[in-house]
């Protein structure tokens, strides 16, 4: 039987990799991938604890909701990134420092 602590340690490591990507990358798409990694770490925790809720399925259900929300977030974020690229010709968040007008 796989213990809960193993799942928690793996997801903590994944979360920290995502954190590193968010802080260090200069590319909006890579930052988005870092956010996805952190979200996946959270979903892994939900699923691991959801094993102990057979009748209500709380963990798995909210893991599903989190996956759907992540998809919506990514679609909107990519639309914003494309718009930023059209406006500034770069997607480095450090260089996007002007408002529209």
């Amino acid at each position: 039987m796989i213990s809960l602590t193993d799942f928690l340690v793996v997801s903590a490591a994944l979360f920290c990799i995502g954190l590193y990507m968010i802080i260090s990358k200069q590319n909006a798409i890579q930052i988005l991938i870092g956010i996805e990694l952190m979200l996946n770490a959270a979903i892994l925790n939900l699923v691991a604890f959801g094993k102990f809720d057979r009748f209500n399925n709380g963990g798995q259900m909210f893991a599903l909701f989190a996956i759907v929300l992540a998809a919506a977030t990514t679609a909107v974020a990519l639309a914003i990134i494309l718009n930023v690229y059209k406006q500034y010709k770069t997607i480095d968040p450090g260089k996007v420092d002007r408002l529209k007008d």
């Binding site: 903590a12 920290c16 798409i29 759907v68």
Partner: protein
């Protein structure tokens, strides 16, 4: 050591190694394709946590939807993104990434400490759930139960998510529209 445990360690090794590759490689396209492998290994971990429906959803939505979207956005945003990558130095960790590396490593240490203190296997509600046979058995088919729960207990969050998805759809379409010349 049972087969499930060996599979768990293999899956988590593949997952963490490919995530590290995603974080440290200089080639953006290659990092996106390694992200693919990370997501597949995560789906394997969900199966090992006895959540097969979530694993299938992960593959369908993440791998089929999000990853294709990311690749699409990358291809559309063109050469400039590659140029910013190429300007970075060839070192494994360049000097300006050291604070980020230190921060995330220290955060990992804090998290591991906390996990060791919590001792999740002996939490009160988990012991109670095992005693009342409320934990999922490996041979149980949970998909039917998930469907019933989705339409009864969790109907409100389900509807809220559907409204939010519609808002996001309209918002994304509006954002990526060409601007009127007026």
């Amino acid at each position: 050591m049972s087969l499930a445990q060996i599979m768990f360690y293999v899956m988590s090794f593949v997952m963490l190694a490919s995530a590290l590759f995603v974080a440290f490689t200089k080639n953006l396209v290659r990092s996106i394709f390694m992200f693919f492998i990370t997501l597949f290994a995560l789906a394997g971990l969900y199966v090992l946590a006895l959540a097969d429906f979530v694993a299938i959803t992960q593959i369908v939505i993440y791998v089929g939807g999000i990853l294709v979207l990311i690749l699409f956005a990358f291809m559309l945003s063109g050469k400039e993104t590659l140029n910013t990558i190429m300007q970075q130095r060839k070192q494994f960790i360049s000097l300006k990434n050291v604070p980020a590396f230190l921060f995330s490593a220290l955060f990992l240490i804090v998290l591991i400490n906390m996990i060791a203190k919590v001792d999740a296997n002996n939490l009160y509600w988990i012991k109670k759930s095992v005693a009342m046979k409320n934990n999922i058995q490996p041979d149980a088919a949970m998909t039917e139960n998930i469907g019933v729960n989705l339409m009864t207990n969790y109907l409100l969050p389900f509807e809220a998510v559907s409204i939010l998805l519609m808002i996001a759809l309209i918002g994304a379409a509006h954002l990526s529209r060409k601007e009127d010349s007026q």
